[in-house]
Symmetry: D2
Subunit: 290 residues, 4 copies
Amino acid sequence: MTGMATERTAILLMHCADQQGLVAAISEFIARNEGNIVYLDQHVDERRGIFFMRVEWELARFRVAVEAIDKAFDEAIGQRFGMHWTLSFSDEVPRIAIMVSRLPHCLYDLLSRWQSGEWRVEIPVLISNHEDLGDVAEQFGLPYHVLPVTPENKAHQEQRLLELLRAQRVDLIVLARYMQILGPQLIANYPNRIINIHHSFLPAFPGARPYHNAHARGVKIIGATSHYATAELDAGPIIAQDVVHITHRDPVEELIRKGRDLEKLVLARAVWAHIQRKVLCYENRTVIFD
Amino acid sequence: MTGMATERTAILLMHCADQQGLVAAISEFIARNEGNIVYLDQHVDERRGIFFMRVEWELARFRVAVEAIDKAFDEAIGQRFGMHWTLSFSDEVPRIAIMVSRLPHCLYDLLSRWQSGEWRVEIPVLISNHEDLGDVAEQFGLPYHVLPVTPENKAHQEQRLLELLRAQRVDLIVLARYMQILGPQLIANYPNRIINIHHSFLPAFPGARPYHNAHARGVKIIGATSHYATAELDAGPIIAQDVVHITHRDPVEELIRKGRDLEKLVLARAVWAHIQRKVLCYENRTVIFD
Amino acid sequence: MTGMATERTAILLMHCADQQGLVAAISEFIARNEGNIVYLDQHVDERRGIFFMRVEWELARFRVAVEAIDKAFDEAIGQRFGMHWTLSFSDEVPRIAIMVSRLPHCLYDLLSRWQSGEWRVEIPVLISNHEDLGDVAEQFGLPYHVLPVTPENKAHQEQRLLELLRAQRVDLIVLARYMQILGPQLIANYPNRIINIHHSFLPAFPGARPYHNAHARGVKIIGATSHYATAELDAGPIIAQDVVHITHRDPVEELIRKGRDLEKLVLARAVWAHIQRKVLCYENRTVIFD
Amino acid sequence: MTGMATERTAILLMHCADQQGLVAAISEFIARNEGNIVYLDQHVDERRGIFFMRVEWELARFRVAVEAIDKAFDEAIGQRFGMHWTLSFSDEVPRIAIMVSRLPHCLYDLLSRWQSGEWRVEIPVLISNHEDLGDVAEQFGLPYHVLPVTPENKAHQEQRLLELLRAQRVDLIVLARYMQILGPQLIANYPNRIINIHHSFLPAFPGARPYHNAHARGVKIIGATSHYATAELDAGPIIAQDVVHITHRDPVEELIRKGRDLEKLVLARAVWAHIQRKVLCYENRTVIFD
């Protein structure tokens, strides 16, 4: 558990074509340099022949200086195996921008996790296409930017949004029931770094008004799906999903009410997995290390 | 609980346009005739303005003779309120035909519930489009009819199937992973009396190979759906659904394995609800009394 | 759904010895006075021979004046059947006191449901035995009373607490991870009106440190239980319970983290059921109408 | 997934005091000998300082002969790290004895998984303290031994049982609702090789009549727990648990009915984990590799 390590750790997420000796080489690199592994999980997608791994080790006695690890790892392992990898450190605090529209339930949930110290993150900015939730931002002492979107100003607002995100050095964008389709430039600039919550168990009921569609179809479960936003709507890599049982007694309003609790829970799980560096994407799918 | 009543009971399932005094009139009809209500559940779909009710009462001291109840109820209540209703009795034993193809897990589960006395039903006949599961039928002492279906003989086989079902006075057909689309005549003859199990959380992944499609999409849950078969494939009224969580570690084979347990459970729940007379259909939806 | 009715409704919760004609008499009373039933659920505990019912009807055209309904019902039904019953109205707004100690997650959740208008309740007062969460109260604009409890001042503080609750005309007390045993007088004064959240699936792991005990026992699920507080610790009538799966990978800290989400969800469900007047208690058990 | 490997694999389950270089040494041992790792999962219990690992590799090109692996591994790794380890091979077929009393639901479920080929196991013998389920054994073509137990013959019958198990070279004993406490000698002879199913979410409701106790306590969930049998009743290491929601509508009979489905599912999951060599025990807890 990253969250449990009291010492500073290094975290490697990697994937490459499966080949013999991968685990041995990686763990030998860490052991040779006196790193103590506290987490190692490996997965092979046999159909696709891809190797995935997350490894985390304590840095206290590690012989390679923190700023030299990536070069050392790349030379020893990365190049040799043709590996895609990212290195991060447990003491890096992610900077999150939250985007909302009018519904506050996910926003309250995220902000209370931040404010109470449950999550060690920074939230430098809230962004919305509506004025409505400005009071919540103020109550939590956060800046609130309103960027209303119309067909005419869409491109312009996307540009302003990008500038804002850059100025705030944002690592992750969380769409907390932001009911506006993102522009392609934004998505291209934050690959696998925009987390959305959709209020159905995708791929069922994509698009607008999923609860109404669920009610019309007479399903016995409703769900929520958190995924990375991609150019194709509601089709990005799924990070977390959950469902709740409903009955014929539940009118649409009740689906919406029950769904709200699910949405905030599933979104929080997805964001938590991401900030723990436990999510790895490939071919529109995710590997979630647990 | 029907299953719990030690005495013989009458069960009424009804629905009609919502109007004042319905519950009063129905319960007064039963009370006046000295029936003791052991179950009453009522539901109003406010959007559609439809009233639904299931009521069950003990017949021990009921003043109306069993064979005269339907006439008495129709005159006192049914006609007055323009009601759709069905009357049944707790001691009627449903006759079930099970249809299978090659996968045995649902079949074993249904047969063991029957043979152990968990369900009070009769299973006069097993029908398949393949020879494969004949041994299982024999082991449980049941007749096994093979009706192989080809594009050429489809209409003819459907006719034979209908004759077989009629000859056996079948009340309910359970498609226990029967991998063949039913003919329109069969469906028309058994409205809301053919229960199918589909191996996904419909409406996600209809049609063939849902586990492969679920794996390709990278979902984090898989499901099973039991529904009444209608003319439109995988689109009939849903009776029961459930899901199970999966991870990136699960290859398609593992989805199939985990799904199997879900399928037999969800199918059994749907059949149980039906034979307890707790399912009421309208507008391609179900009311499931609990 | 009370929450869905746009018109003002009356709600009756009742139980009595089971006897013939109960439903007929009650529904006839409402129908005769031109009330339109929007919810009726009835349950008979056959073992104990107890009848339970929740009925809700629209008052728009009801012939009995609101202030005269209890007298009229008591004369027509209540006395005749020896019934325990409570009458309430959908437009009555419950006044809730929240008691906390140091953990904020349930508090944030409750306050956000209130502030966002998800729940139509009033929260006139927050009470704690610690200073810690005063900032959260202030942020939401609510008065925060600190009543530190020591063995010496326990009786005195209970008296102050009672006065505070009375002065604020509190209908319901929610113990949102309040880590102090309540005094007997308080419990006696608010029977079935104090809702607690316990961080285990009771009756497993009562008392202190349930997550540590769960971890030591090696269970594969953890849970949360919301119940009415009674004189016996962790033994009151259970309103809501839920669980989440854990694995050997989860250290105690992770159980605490996962449990937090469960606690706030289960507590919210229990409070919601209570304020919807859907909970009825008898013999240390609850009937939860849905 | 062991079950998925088409080639023969070796499986190592190991634990020892946590120390640096463990993963490197183990994976290097396999890589050096040309083994291709298809599964590796590692876990460190930081509180206790224990390292756990399951590793599985293909034997096709492995340079060490199958019968020499244990010696080679012990010399290279086992002794060096003071490791507890067990080696097995994917083509070893476990021999399971099933013990039952009068309830057939778990038995049917286990036998159908075996007979249909879902599980690759052998079931050389069924044992019971009652005659009742002999017909089921016969139907599945299996020998059925009745060993009735009385206070007088308990020691003698345990001896006969042990002889029977030895004669059949039984690897695993599954107590499929066997309602008789096992003798200490049997338990001592099959450590972590006797799997029991208990019909509650332990540690809640240990001992007899858990459903009656659950109903009396008014819980909102019931559960089932599968665990290894130890000398202390219902206190052995938990392998699998699951729960199902219930309501006030469910009388004890309905808890028993709903529980039955849970019991067979949870027992099957536990047996499956065991025969996949994915369970490792220590200090009355289990590590379940997934």
